[in-house]
Amino acid sequence: MTSMPMKQLHDSLLELIRRTSAELPGDIVRAIETQRKLEAESSQARYALDIIAENIGLAREKSQPLCQDTGTLHFYVRVPVGFDQHAFCEQTRDAVSEATAKGYLRQNSVDPITGKNTGNNLGPGFPTFHFEQHDVYEKNEVEVCLILKGGGCENVGAQYSLPNRALEADRNLEGVKRVILDSVIAAQGKGCAPGILGVCIGGDRTTGFDNSKEQLLRTLDDKNPDPTLAKLESDIVRISNELGIGPMGFGGKTTLLGCKIGVLNRLPASYFVSITYMCWAYRRQGIMMDKDGKITKWLY
């Protein structure tokens, strides 16, 4: 494919990063607002959601990060056949570096052996690219989605292997439900509840976790086309909200805002349930770009 003008591509990517970091998408804002009104007026749960609501407004107004942990950057890119991925990655890295210098992103890339921070958010695995070739869009259109995944919530994700004796969880939907709820109990408020779960039933240890994170590209108000999974998704949210963990683990009615479940086939010997925990600061945004690298549509 002819490559996009690099300057325009760079500018579009920088704007995608800025907006993802500073502005929460509409579906999340609505869900938080609905729950905020349901919490008792003088409760700590209400206090937490009031501050969160204030923070959402301030971040957008000041064009500054919603949360100081701007996390790892996952770019999900759907490209036409023949697209120059090398050039795209190079421009993205430049845009990430500039976004860091401007303060849209925190310096988050640390060498685990030396402890040194690279200072520009670049390094092995930073950022992460997920490429997929498509043939469904207009010729030469490119779709780029971005998730900023903070460390606090990433640390409370989990991967279970069924059967799990300790949790009396067998290789069936009841077992899946038990381990998902176990992860919610274990997380308490540490993932900055209210949280949103991305879950994958099946796959191997890598594909399972990858797929669970991809579930976070779905909107909060979408419906799983599989009725069994749709029911499991809403049961998990309903039960979690009756456990009394609440926003920040302060107690209350709002522990989860959503649960999105995907399925991959598995090996006969393995049965993994992979859970990615996303915090309330659910920074997920996307753009469509035309062949000149101009943004034609915002996706969330």
């Binding site: 700590q44 206090y47 937490a48 501050i51 969160i52 204030e54 923070n55 301030l58 971040a59 000041k62 500054q64 990060p65 919603l66 949360c67 100081q68 942990d69 701007t70 401007k102 303060g103 992103l105 925190r106 310096q107 988050n108 640390v110 402890g115 040194k116 921070n117 200072g119 903070g150 460390g151 606090g152 640390n155 009396e168 038990r178 709820l181 109990i185 308490q188 408020g189 540490k190 900055c192 039960i239 009756e242 456990l243 009394g244 963990i245 609440g246 920040m248 683990g249 302060f250 107690g251 915090c279 309330w280 600061a281």
Partner: protein, 189 residues
């Protein structure tokens, strides 16, 4: 109802606080997270005294603009990672408070009781609301050794909003919620 906690942070002021109290802090905060806690626990000496001060578990986004440090985002990080070390810092450095999110464990709770220190929970992710309460960056220490998010940033704050979730009386909201939620789950299994 909000309690105002203003500098100097004395033991008697701290011992008056209880779990559930909504507090607004005015005075200095010193950020310190994974690198600093391990460093001090292993015997490292700090270039600044934290006696009667409050440590804030935070890796802020701070940018230099026109020669001045400007805080762009400053919400709390998850405190539990410091649980192995916190009790020693409270004891040795004579800390009066720890601000973070997600709570801490038994060792920290015991140190709070023994040494007159409270754990204050700031709202996780409220990076802008909390950054607004930081009126000045006084200094930054150990930036070269630890990098920006792990350095010790000395902030001057006014009306910094937190909730007491672990007090000097042996009470922890986190322990209570864990027990309540674990018990509630049994109904659904």
């Amino acid at each position: 109802m909000t309690t105002k906690l203003e500098t100097p942070f004395t033991e008697s002021k701290i011992r008056e606080l209880h779990v559930g109290d909504m507090v607004e802090i005015t005075g200095k905060l010193f950020t310190g997270r994974d690198a600093v806690h391990k460093y001090v626990f292993d015997g490292g000496l700090l270039p600044v005294s934290l006696e009667n001060q409050i440590v804030y578990h935070c890796g802020p986004v701070v940018i230099k603009e026109n020669g001045e440090w400007v805080v762009k985002a400053a919400g709390p990080t998850t405190s539990f990672r410091e649980e192995p070390y916190q009790w020693k810092l409270i004891a040795d450095l004579k800390l009066k408070g720890v601000i973070g999110k997600g709570g801490m464990g038994k060792k920290t709770l015991e140190a709070c009781k023994a040494f007159g220190c409270c754990y204050f929970h700031a709202v996780g992710g409220a990076a802008q609301v909390l950054a607004e309460k930081i009126i000045k960056v006084n200094n930054v220490y150990m930036m070269e050794e630890f990098g920006s998010p792990e350095a010790i940033w000395e902030f001057e704050v006014m009306g910094f909003p937190v909730v007491v979730t672990m007090d000097t009386h042996g009470k922890s909201l986190h322990e209570d919620i864990l027990n309540i939620s674990t018990e509630s789950l049994k109904k659904f299994l």
